[in-house]
């Protein structure tokens, strides 16, 4: 019994020695050989565990990257929102540019800042003042129409009231110039006309509507009629868009009518405006305002003008390059002719001989 036990112990020891020797041999193998053997093993009997490990690694990486991906998506969504704001601002500025292109003279572009304090909800701080030529009682307009009126002027800033201010008045007329009245902010709500015109027409606070008073009884206005400034009163030039008729208001007046208007400009959307100079008071500005899509063509023209400028710049650059190339080619031809004639070409890069006078040295 002792002999077989000793023999199997020897076999065990031999196996251990063989395994350790093989392992040590694997350790001291040159790296390319080791990599080759490892590659063969990966493709053959280690392939299943290799696939398992690969899948687990991918799963872990996916888990680890999940938060990063979510953060990236969040930041992209935020940027998309910001891009939307930028696009809206870009459109507003282009519309203002288009308006400037149409009016051509007598205006000062300005930024309108909304106050956050009590009593400032119907006022606007303008970033231009007397230095830019702004005077009190100047009309403030946006590409869509009337915004308000300058009330006080500082050197570099001005204060304006919006059309929603209780003191705001503008002499108005229908777009065809047949009906006249005075437009004021609509200070009382719950009117019959508003209810009659439907919920959609009067959605939101009715305070943000206008009313046109003093319209002659014989001149009824249909809903949807455009109302513009009449040019009377010496403040607003004729033809500036004010709003659209929603319906008639029932009042105690017997000989005149009052109409509720949807303003063409929403005060909360106003950020860039134009202050019109008094020199424009006698002008007719009709047809220059953005009704539904009317300004799009002009905006397109402004964009196209920008594109044509870029095209012209590219063409100029190409022409300059052609001139440079032709000059270089001519110089090369001249050099080759000189070389053929045995004359060394002139070294144009060498500095002219002679010592310059040291102008910095004191006498």
């Amino acid at each position: 019994m002792a002999r077989p036990a000793r023999a199997s112990s020897r076999v065990d020891a031999a196996l251990l020695v063989a395994c350790t020797l093989l392992a040590l041999l694997a350790i001291v193998l040159p790296t390319p050989t080791r990599d080759a053997i490892a590659g063969v093993l990966q493709r053959t009997f280690a392939a299943p565990v290799f696939a398992l490990q690969l899948r687990s690694e991918r799963a872990r990486t996916a888990l680890a990257e999940r938060e990063q991906v979510a953060a990236r998506v969040d930041s992209l969504a935020l940027r998309v929102v910001q891009l939307g704001q930028l696009e809206a601002e870009n459109l507003r500025l282009r519309q203002l540019l288009a308006l400037g292109h149409r009016v051509q003279r007598g205006f000062v572009p300005a930024e309108g800042l909304h106050g956050q304090g009590i009593g400032e909800s119907h006022a606007l701080l303008l970033t231009v003042g007397a230095k830019a030529g702004v005077v009190p009682r100047s009309a403030v307009v946006a590409p869509q129409g009337v915004v308000g009126l300058v009330t006080s002027v500082g050197n570099t800033t001005s204060q304006a009231i919006l059309w929603s201010h209780p003191d705001f008045r503008v002499s108005a007329m229908s777009a065809d110039g047949a009906t006249f009245g005075i437009v004021t902010p609509h200070l009382s709500g719950n009117d019959e006309a508003c209810r009659g015109a439907g919920e959609a027409a009067c959605a939101g606070p009715e305070r943000m509507l206008l009313e046109m008073r003093g319209v002659a009884f014989r001149d009824p206005l249909k809903p949807g009629t455009l109302i513009a400034s009449s040019g009377l009163g010496g403040v607003f030039p004729r033809g500036i868009l004010i709003g659209t008729v929603i319906g008639e208001l029932k009042t105690t007046e017997q000989w005149s009518r009052t109409y509720l208007l949807r303003p063409s400009v929403r005060p909360q959307d106003v950020s860039n405006v134009m202050v019109l100079s008094p020199v424009l008071v006698t002008d007719n500005l009709a047809g220059m305002w953005d009704t539904a899509g009317a300004g799009a063509a002009v905006v397109a023209r402004v964009v196209a003008a920008g594109d044509s400028l870029a095209r012209r710049a590219t063409a100029d650059s190409a022409a300059r390059q052609r001139v440079i190339d032709s000059t270089a080619a001519a110089r090369l031809a001249a050099d080759s002719v000189a070389a053929a004639a045995g004359v060394a070409p002139r070294d144009t890069t060498r500095v002219a001989p002679g010592v310059r006078r040291d102008t910095a040295r004191r006498p």
Binding site: L15, C19, L24, I27, A38, E57
Partner: protein, 162 residues
């Protein structure tokens, strides 16, 4: 050992090897339980030392194939651990939970020491930190996993001890 028990042990061995290559990459901790050590030790105490050495060598080669930078090191360490475990089990140990835990702990620690000495890729301080801090932690985790495996598969592993 009957062929059914051989088959069950082989199945558990394969399961632990699969766990090693699935769970560890998922966890990616600084110190991790070593399922290969648990598999080798559980199998080694049921076979002759020479077979345990062969088993360790084969399993080590499998692990080395996935880490060519230390090719051969795991094979060497697992051969020695497998042989020693099989020989020690035959000489000393009986079926005792605490002794098994100690067995797993020492097995893993010894494996780490052998591995670190042979891989020759660390500075002395790194080796010391690994052997004195991370390896014991990993060994403790391995002992815990080994005990859980023993508890779960007790019926399956009841086998004739060599």
């Amino acid at each position: 050992m009957s062929w059914q028990k051989v088959a069950r042990t082989a199945l558990l061995f394969a399961f632990l090897v699969a766990l090693h290559f699935t769970v560890r990459p998922l966890l990616s901790w600084r110190s991790q339980p070593d399922f290969l050590i648990v598999a080798i030790l559980l199998a080694a105490v049921r076979v002759r030392p020479g077979v345990a050495a062969l088993l360790g060598f084969g399993t080590g080669l499998l692990a080395d194939a996935l880490a060519p930078a230390t090719f051969g090191v795991t094979a060497f360490a697992l051969s020695v651990i497998g042989f020693t475990a099989s020989w020690l089990k035959a000489v000393f140990f009986s079926d005792n939970v605490a002794l098994h835990a100690f067995f797993f702990f020492v097995g893993k620690w010894a494996f780490d020491v052998l591995f670190i000495l042979l891989e020759r890729q660390r500075t002395f301080l790194e080796m010391a930190a690994q052997v004195a801090l991370w390896s014991p932690l990993s060994a403790a985790q391995t002992a815990l996993v080994g005990l859980v495996v023993l508890m779960l598969f007790r019926g399956m592993l009841e086998a004739n001890q060599t």
